[in-house]
Symmetry: C2
Subunit: 350 residues, 2 copies
């Protein structure tokens, strides 16, 4: 008898962090692909590139010279989407045309002076220094009481709109809490009010019990393909301790975060033996916005590749107009990632 | 004195259809672009392609032969994301792992037997036949009481995940109302309850009064860059009469819809003198779901190109994790599109 199976039949799953549903179509993996094939550049990069505006000592796009930095290095984006000196704006409060001024700051953080060392290729200790700098930036930016949210994120790879391969991330901090964070706050608040503990605390416990979607873990963090994953190999890193933001992490937790970041991104690169593109970023509590005991720190990885290094998932027509959609199941993706080695396929080349 | 200006300073605008905000950074248009440059293929296509699985008489991916069709032609997708025979599913109602079975149908509609004629290159009369078929499909699909929403959409261009250049659109109809439609229903319901008329009726009136964001219009439809547009050259076609779905359009309205579709997509192609990629689709009331007097038929166009035929806007890190973001203002994009000719740059070549 043909009975309904999550692994075989179309279904929807609820994203418990946003309240939105994703359409899962596992049977569609049989579809032949005749569409766009991305160019893949697997060439090794040099340690230093004289034309790179992020390498030590080189001029930036705005004209300033980078110092001869040795450790992770942060500076204010020369063409930031947000500006600290936006003049105070008259809000336009019309019911149909509604706008308001936004202040903010955009920072860029180079992970390392080396032009060629992405997170999986950096020694764990060097990733630890990046985490130290994230904390330092977060502390400094949140001291400005006009800032309400600090988004730390990385676009990796040309197909994720990254315009410079020198390993770096960005911080965009704004005077308003952005849309995605409003959704996650609302859902976490409701759960916390009803259950007296964090939504992700309960979720981690369930994933540990089921053992179906865990990619890797250590003493302080767990990496899972969430039940409601949208991107083919989407993952989340969640802290085992319920903390609201990155400042709460102690030395042991920072080491563990560096460890899991290295292991997860190594598995990603090993999946298709390519420098795996993604957008990744931390979600944490709004700042200067009262208490947020419901908030539980986590980090999302949204990688676009689906079938190979050159065939990605397109989030287009149906996804933009109606609902996100995926083909392979989260359980399949998790088993695949879990099975991959934690030694980088190109480790011996750098 | 430096006073706040929508045209110069970072601000947020509210999408009145979804309740979400978009970040607008007009000053950022000065940013130099060093990132990904798409390959542009401006070669003319043949009238018929023997290897195309959508051309008349050719075998499809699933093996069936296409008839020798002369008018727009519809068939059920051989690899649809939704299936009519999904076995009835046990809903998984756990608070943290929540899934439900979905039934549905995926259809493909070839606009014309000609492999090379996209909407702007089709005669208006031929577009009229596509609209007739949309009505016919909509009527037939909605007769199945298990269907709750019918999404008609087109992915155009390789960079929008379209795997075959033969001009076609798709219909995905599902047994659940998808996420985007739930948002638009909620917002339109609230406005209708408070004002006794449709949200978009009031919005059109305001745009006609302001004359700042109208791209083109005719007796029955208006095309605007919405105040809250996210994609650089995003537009909406809105029916001047408040109707809830496509079945309500009479002959005069169908002719007018064909006219505005041809004019808008011609302007799009003329913008960068390329076959302009986009995802486009109609939004209309859910079906088999009671009365929806609040719903006002409209069509969204989400085109990715930003600076040229080869440089697109990336919706990546900040956009996925926090909030959509744009650089050029909607008013600038509307003035640009409005100024473009309505004769296709390549009309003499087909
Ligand atoms: O059905 P198609 O055209 O092959 O597929 C295309 O459109 C779908 C609906 O937007 C997307 O889910 C796919 O990622 C895209 O490649
Ligand atoms: O600031 P970058 O890296 O030049 O820009 C990149 O990331 C931004 C934030 O996600 C996006 O808005 C841009 O479209 C993308 O190209």
């Amino acid at each position: 008898m043909n009975t309904f199976q999550l692994a075989d039949h179309p279904h929807q799953r609820l994203n418990i962090l946003t309240g939105e549903w994703v359409l899962v179509s596992p049977h569609r993996t049989k579809r032949p692909w005749q569409g766009k094939v991305e160019q893949v550049n697997n060439q090794l990069l040099p340690h230093y590139d004289a034309s790179c505006y992020l390498c030590p000592g080189n001029p930036r796009m705005g004209g300033d010279l980078n110092p001869d930095y040795k450790d992770p290095f942060a500076f204010t984006n020369d063409f930031g989407a947000l500006m600290a000196d936006t003049p105070a704006g008259q809000d336009i409060e019309d019911e149909l045309l509604h706008a308001r001024a936004v202040k903010g700051i955009c920072r860029v953080i180079c992970f390392s002076p080396r032009h060629d060392l992405t997170l999986p290729l950096l020694p764990q200790e060097a990733i630890g220094k990046v985490i130290d700098l994230w904390q330092e930036e977060y502390r400094r930016i949140s001291a400005d009481s006009s800032i309400k949210y600090i988004q730390i994120f990385e676009n990796k790879g040309e197909i994720m709109g990254c315009s410079n391969p020198h390993p770096h991330c960005q911080i965009w901090a704004a005077s308003d809490v952005p849309a995605e964070l409003i959704k996650e706050t609302t859902r976490q608040q409701a759960y916390y009010a009803a259950n007296g503990k964090s939504l992700l605390q309960s979720y981690i416990a369930l994933e540990q019990e089921r053992q179906e979607r865990i990619v890797c873990e250590n003493e302080h963090f767990i990496a899972v393909v969430p039940y409601w994953a949208t991107w083919p190999f989407e993952t989340m890193i969640i802290s085992k301790r319920h903390v609201t933001n990155i400042l709460a992490f102690n030395e042991a937790e920072k080491n563990a975060l560096a460890d899991i970041l290295k292991r997860l991104t190594t598995k990603y690169d090993n999946l298709f033996e390519t420098s795996f593109p993604y957008s990744a970023g931390m979600h944490q509590a709004p700042v200067n916005d009262g208490e947020h005991p419901e908030w539980h720190w986590h980090m999302h990885f949204y990688p676009p590749l689906l079938r190979s290094a050159s065939v990605k998932k397109f989030m287009v027509g149906y996804e933009l107009l109606a609902s996100p959609q995926r083909d392979i199941t989260p359980e399949w993706a998790a088993a695949k990632l879990q099975s991959l080695p934690e030694v980088h396929y190109a480790a011996h080349l750098v």
